[in-house]
C-alpha cells in the first residue's frame, strides 16, 4: 500500500515553539505570585527518623512546612508495588530520602529556612550499596534482601549441559546509568477550589493523577494533570513526577498559591531513578556442531531501597535475555535485590540493555573459546521463521534477525573490511582495530497482558471547521511522538497533515491512552488512533477533500464538534500466562544489529569509535528523519553506557552528581553512523509500524565489547569498558 503522509518527512508539529523559544518549560512558568518548594531529605544512608526540629528562634511566618502528618490520604508512592512512603516517617533507607517539604515565595529565604531545620536520625552505620553486598546480607533491608523472583524455564538444562560438548560460564556486571535529560525534574502545582492542578515535566500524566488521587483521596474530576514541554526524559520522568507532583500539591494545599519545585542537577542525579545495576551469571552449552542447546542465567537487578516498579523491569530484562536464538533448554532466574540506594526505575531499554550485554558478550566469548567466528556461531543459532522463544512464543513471519544480519554484512562489505582491519593490525605497532557485532531485538508495548490491563483509550475530535484534534495522553518529550501520531491520523483520514492538531495533554481533555513508555506510543496508541479514524470515516462518508467540509457540516449540524474514541484491541493471536511466564510476551519485536569498528591504542588503551553501522527492522517507518534521529541518539546513549558512564557510590551517596564527573559522550565523541531500516510491516501496527524508542539502547555495549575482543583478544565483563579495565586484561592475558 502506498501511503501519503506516513513515510513522509513532514515538519515537526512543535518546531515553531521550540525553535523560537516560545515553548514554556516548567521553570519558565511564572505566575504573579507563587512559592518555591524544596525537599528536606535524609542526611544519612540508613537509620530511624526521630524528628524534625525547626529552630524556634527563626521567623517561620512566611513559610509553608509539610511533613507526613499533613497527608490527607495515603502516605505512599503509587507504583507497581507501592512500598515507598511519599514522606518518610520512621525508617530511612537512602541518602536524600524525602522527609519533609518547605516553601517560601523568596528563594533566598527558602535557603535560609532550610538551614534552620535539623533532622534527627538515629543512624545505622551499616548499609549495602551493591548487589554482592546485598546478597551477603551484611545488612538486611527487607527479608533476605530480595524483593522479587521470577523464572523462565523450557526443556531440561541438566541433561542439556550433560550432553553438551562445550560449556562456558561467566559473570557480567553493569552499573547504574543516569538519564541525563537536559531539563531536570520540575513541577508546578496549584489548587482551584477542591481541584488539584499539577503541571510539569512528565511522561505519564495519568500516573501522576493516580499518585495524587491516592495521596489526597480525590476523584478523577478533582485532579487535573497537565504536561508542560518536556526537555528529555528517557524513562527518568516515568515514575519520579508521581513523587514530585504529590510533593508540590501538598505544599500548594497549605500555601493557597502555586508552588513550583525545580530540581538542581546535583539533586536530580542524587535522588531520582536510574537504570538498575545488574549482575548476570550466564552459562551456555553447545553441541559438537556449535548449536546452542542450553542456556542457564541468573539475572540479578539492584532495585534500590524500595521495590516500586522493578518487577516489570526484571520481567523485560529476562524476556530479552535469551537473545535472538533458538534454544531448547533454558532456565533463567531473575532476582531483584534491595540496596541502600535510591529506588531504581525506568530507563530506555528497561532491563534489556543489561541482559543483552551479558548474552551478546558471552556469545562472542564462547565463539573465541571454541575457535569459531562469532558471525558463524550466530548464523548457526539464529531463531528462524516458525521458530520459537523460550517462553514458547511462536515466531512466524516477523522474525527478521537473519535479514538485518545479512544486510549489515553486505553494507560493510565484510570480507573487504576484514582484510583492511587485518592488514592494518599486521602493519601497526601502536594500534589495533577490531569489528564487533551485537544482534538484538525489542518487544514493543507492555509485557504480556500489560496492554490488556491498560486498556488504553485514544480518540480524535472533529471540529466544525473540519480540523481534527488528536486526543491522547501520550507526551512529546523530544522524540517526535506528536508528529508521528498526527501523521497516522492524517493518513487514516486521508486529510492534509496541517488539518490535524494535538489537543493539550491534560487529563481533563484527553482520555487515558496509557503511559509514554515501553516503545508503545507509535505502535499501540497509533493503532488505537487509526481505528478511531475508521469510526469517523464510517460515520461521515466523504470521498475527497472537496466534499469533506460539506459532509462534516451536514454531520455536525448545530454541534461544535464530535469526538470518536477507540479502546485498545489486543491482537487475537497473543496469549500470555502471567503466572508461569509462558506465551507471547510481546505482540511483535523490532529486530536489529549493530556493527562497530573501533581502534584501540596499545599504550593508552583508549578506544576510538570509528564507525557504527545499524540495520533494523522497525516495520513501516512513519517518519524517516525522526526515526533515524531516534536511532542515532540511542546509539550515542548506548556508547556512553559502553565506554564512559559510571555512577560512583561513596560514603553512602552518589558522588559524581554533575556533568563534570558523570561522563556522557559529547558531540566530538560521536563517530560516523550509518543507520538503515528494513521494512517488514506489522499487521497490528498502524500502517505496519512497530515501536522503536528503546531498541537502539540494547545493542551498543555488547557490540563495543565484541569489537574490543576482536581487536585485542581480551574478554571483558564489566561496564564501562574503561582503559583501566582494558589495560588490566591485556597485560594479564599476555
Amino acid at each position: 500500500m502506498k501511503h501519503k503522509v506516513v513515510g513522509a518527512n513532514v515538519t515537526r508539529v512543535d518546531v515553531k515553539e521550540k525553535v523560537t523559544g516560545a515553548a514554556k518549560y516548567t521553570d519558565d512558568i511564572q505566575p504573579d505570585s507563587f512559592y518555591w518548594g524544596a525537599q528536606i531529605g535524609s542526611n544519612v544512608v540508613s537509620g530511624v527518623l526521630k524528628g524534625v526540629i525547626k529552630n524556634p528562634d527563626f521567623d517561620w511566618s512566611d513559610f509553608v512546612y509539610v511533613d507526613a502528618s499533613d497527608i490527607p490520604g495515603e502516605n505512599e508512592v503509587e507504583s507497581v508495588v507501592s512500598d515507598m512512603p511519599l514522606l518518610a516517617t520512621k525508617e530511612i533507607r537512602y541518602w536524600g530520602q524525602p522527609i519533609a517539604l518547605l516553601a517560601h515565595r523568596d528563594k533566598h529565604q527558602l535557603e535560609e529556612g532550610l538551614k534552620n531545620i535539623k533532622i534527627e536520625i538515629e543512624e545505622n552505620p551499616i548499609y549495602v550499596s551493591t548487589i554482592d553486598e546485598s546478597l551477603s546480607l551484611k545488612k538486611e533491608i527487607i527479608p533476605q534482601n530480595i524483593f522479587k523472583k521470577r523464572k523462565i524455564e523450557r526443556g531440561d538444562i541438566e541433561s542439556g549441559f550433560e550432553n553438551a560438548k562445550y560449556v562456558f560460564e561467566d559473570i557480567y556486571y553493569t552499573p547504574h546509568q543516569e538519564q541525563m535529560y537536559i531539563e531536570p525534574n520540575a513541577i508546578i502545582s496549584w489548587w482551584e477550589g477542591e481541584k488539584i492542578v499539577v503541571k510539569g515535566s512528565m511522561q505519564c500524566p495519568y500516573y501522576v493523577q493516580a499518585s495524587i488521587k491516592t495521596v489526597f483521596h480525590k476523584e478523577d474530576k478533582d485532579v487535573e494533570i497537565i504536561q508542560a514541554y518536556v526537555g528529555g526524559a528517557f524513562g527518568g520522568k516515568e515514575d519520579y513526577p508521581s513523587i514530585l507532583g504529590a510533593h508540590a500539591a501538598l505544599l500548594a494545599m497549605k500555601a493557597n498559591e502555586p508552588v513550583k519545585m525545580v530540581y538542581e542537577r546535583a539533586q536530580d542525579i542524587s535522588i531520582t531513578t536510574k537504570r538498575h545495576p545488574s549482575k548476570t551469571t550466564i552459562k551456555m552449552g553447545f553441541d559438537e556442531n556449535h548449536k546452542l542447546t542450553t542456556l542457564q542465567m541468573e539475572f540479578i537487578l539492584d532495585g534500590g531501597s524500595y521495590e516500586t516498579m522493578s518487577s516489570v523491569i526484571l520481567a523485560r530484562g529476562m524476556l530479552h535475555a535469551f537473545g535472538p536464538y533458538e534454544i531448547p533448554n533454558v532456565k533463567i532466574d531473575g532476582i531483584i535485590v534491595a540496596t541502600n540506594t535510591p529506588p531504581n526505575g525506568a530507563f530506555r531499554g528497561f532491563g534489556a540493555p543489561q541482559s543483552f550485554f551479558a548474552t551478546e558478550s558471552h556469545i562472542d566469548y564462547c565463539a573465541l573459546k571454541m575457535g569459531i567466528s562469532p558471525f558463524k556461531l550466530r548464523e548457526i543459532n539464529f531463531v528462524q521463521r516458525g521458530g520459537s522463544f523460550p517462553t514458547g512464543q511462536l515466531l512466524e513471519n516477523d522474525v527478521m534477525i537473519r535479514e538485518v544480519y545479512d544486510e549489515l554484512l553486505k553494507r560493510v562489505n565484510y570480507p573487504v573490511l576484514r582484510k583492511e582491519i587485518d592488514d592494518f593490525n599486521s602493519l601497526s605497532n601502536t594500534k589495533r582495530r577490531g569489528f564487533g557485532i551485537a544482534t538484538f531485538f525489542h518487544g514493543a508495548g507492555f509485557t504480556g497482558s500489560g496492554e490488556v490491563r491498560l486498556a488504553s483509550i485514544a480518540g480524535i475530535r472533529l471540529d466544525k471547521n473540519g480540523k481534527v484534534a488528536v486526543l491522547v495522553a501520550n507526551t512529546e518529550m523530544g522524540q517526535g511522538a506528536h508528529t508521528v501520531l498526527s501523521q497516522i491520523v492524517a493518513e487514516a483520514l486521508e486529510l492534509p497533515f496541517d488539518m490535524i492538531y494535538m489537543e493539550e495533554v491534560n487529563t481533563q481533555k484527553v482520555p487515558n491512552s496509557g503511559p509514554t513508555v515501553a516503545s508503545r506510543t507509535t505502535m499501540i496508541v497509533g493503532e488505537v488512533l487509526r481505528r478511531a479514524c475508521v469510526k469517523m470515516r464510517d460515520a461521515i462518508k466523504y470521498n475527497s477533500l472537496d466534499d469533506y467540509l460539506e459532509k462534516v457540516s451536514q454531520y455536525l449540524g448545530d454541534k461544535e464538534s464530535e469526538s470518536f474514541f477507540q479502546q485498545h484491541l489486543q491482537p487475537p493471536k497473543i496469549k500470555w500466562d502471567d503466572v508461569n511466564y509462558r506465551g507471547d510476551a510481546y505482540g511483535t519485536y523490532a529486530w536489529a544489529i549493530y556493527g562497530v569498528e573501533i581502534e584501540v591504542d596499545l599504550r593508552s588503551f583508549e578506544v576510538t569509535l570509528k564507525n557504527i553501522i545499524s540495520v533494523m527492522d522497525i516495520g513501516e517507518v512513519v517518519h524517516p528523519i525522526l526515526a533515524s534521529g531516534q536511532i542515532e541518539g540511542g546509539i550515542v546513549q548506548s556508547m556512553g553506557y559502553a565506554l564512559y558512564e559510571n555512577i560512583i557510590f561513596k560514603n553512602g551517596r552518589f558522588w559524581n552528581a554533575d556533568f563534570t564527573n558523570y561522563i556522557i559522550p559529547s558531540i566530538v565523541d560521536i563517530p560516523k553512523m550509518d543507520v538503515s531500516f528494513l521494512n517488514n510491516p506489522y499487521s497490528y501496527g498502524p500502517f505496519g509500524a512497530k515501536g522503536i524508542g528503546e531498541l537502539p539502547m540494547n545493542g551498543g555495549a555488547p557490540a563495543v565489547n565484541n569489537a574490543i575482543k576482536d581487536a585485542l583478544g581480551i574478554h571483558l565483563t564489566k561496564l564501562p569498558l574503561s582503559p583501566e579495565q582494558i589495560m588490566e586484561a591485556y597485560e594479564r592475558d599476555l
Binding site: 535557603e111 559524581n656 559529547s666 566530538v668 583501566e724
Partner: protein
Amino acid sequence: MVVAHDFLYQKPSTLLDALKLRAQYGEKCSLLAGGTDLVVNIKERRISPDIVIDIKGIPEFSILEERDGSIFIGSAITFTELIESPLIKSRVPIIAESAHTVASVGVRNRATLVGNICSAVPSLDSAPALLVYKTDVVVESVDGKRIIPIDKWFVAPKKTALQNNEIVLGVLVEIPNSENGTAYMKLGRYSGEDLAQAGVGIMISKNLEYKIAFCAVGPVPRRALKVEAFLNGKEFSSITNELSEIIQSEISPITDIRASKEYRRHMVDVLVERGIKLALSRLQGE
C-alpha cells in the same frame, strides 16, 4: 535553587579602588574575571563571599604584550585570546596548545589563564605550560607589588601563595632565548570538555636541555627536575626502565573518579615519551 547566596557586586574602574576593596574584605571577597569557576562554586555553595569584585573594568588586567623579552598576560585575558594571539603562538606556543585543551569553546571564551592558576586544582592545564618557561606571577596589594615565581605559586591543592589582600595583575612569561620545541600532552576520558587525568608539558632546546612539568599526578603541578637532569644533553629514542623509574619517583597520583593511580602512572610514561617525540619533531621543524 539557582542563587543560594547574596553578595555585594562591585566593578571598580581603577586598580587602586580594586586593591582597597580587596584590603577591606580580605578572605570574604572573591575576584571575578571569567567567572567559570567562581559562579559554579557559589552556585554549588562551596564558597559564600560577602563581595565579588569584578576586575574586567580595569584596563591593566586586559593587557597582553611583549615587555623586555617577556610576555605579560593580564588577569582578564581569556584562553580564546591566547589561542588567537600571534605573539603567544610564535613565542610561547605551548601556552596556546594547552589553552586549546581547556574545556570547550564557550568556556574558553570567558575563562582566563590567571583564573585557572588561581584555582590551583591539581589538574589545571595551564600549569605545565607556565612551569616549563621562566614564569613570574605578578601580584599587588595596597602595600605594593610582589613577584612570585611560578614554581613557588602552587602551595597545596586549591591553595596558592596569594595573600588575602592581594590581587594577581598577570603573569610574566620569559621568552626562551634559544630555539626550542614544545608539546602539551593531556589525557582525558573522552573527547569532550574533560579535566586532565594527567598532563605533561615539555620544552626541549636545540642544545638538548629539557624542561618537563606535570599536572594531575600529584597534589600540585610541578617541574620534574630529576627527569630533566637525567635527560639533559641526551638524545631521546624511547622510555627506558631507568627513565621510567625516575619519572615514577617524581609523581604521586591518586585513584579518584577520573582514573586509577596505576593507570595514571602508566600513562605518564606514555605521555612523556609521546610529548618528547612531538617536541623534538617540532624543534626539527617537521
